[in-house]
Symmetry: C2
Subunit: 107 residues, 2 copies
């Protein structure tokens, strides 16, 4: 399910990526683990993730400082290094302020 | 390929969605068409899209006004109505200001 109806303003980290080899099981194991520990961080609001030919993961945070703390989390830093050395051919990270939000649900 | 290295600040529209029935061919045809005409709009900077159990499409724009114009595009408005009536069980739209950006490429 998708994350909905958070209270603006808050922050989003858009992480888009291309894998070197989409069959790397260590990548999927680590990606799952990162999602689990992100959820335990202060200021975490939610995460949306999808991967086809490209991967898109968006995590939502209360403040910019929460994002910096998550970036500097030790286990996360180790994953970032492995990401550059082993898994990704390319990635892009965008730090955004969410200013407006609306949704639809077919009830 | 993913969109990279745009010049901050600019805007992102994060569109996350859940389909009622992922086998709807009219949906895929319209989604493709919307991407084509978005690219022709003023202020369009790029688009990243992926769909597995959820769909994530992020379009990037120079200004908030460019986003409003795209929202009000006639063909886009027709697609929005069909989206609510036929395709989506749920969606969420977030308007964000991209404040920082950095990337990695394994060359």
């Amino acid at each position: 399910m998708i994350v909905s109806n958070l209270e603006v303003p808050y922050y989003a980290v858009i992480f888009t990526s291309v894998l070197k080899d989409i069959e790397i099981s260590s990548y999927y194991k680590t990606a799952k683990r990162m999602e689990e520990i992100a959820k335990e961080q202060q200021g975490f609001l939610g995460i949306d993730s999808s991967r086809t030919d490209i991967g898109i993961t968006i995590s939502y945070w209360k403040t910019l400082n929460d994002i910096i703390n998550w970036k500097n989390n030790l286990e996360h830093k180790e994953a970032q290094i492995k990401g550059r050395e082993e898994w990704y051919s390319k990635y892009q990270i965008r730090i955004c302020k969410v200013e407006r939000e609306y949704g639809f649900e077919d009830l």
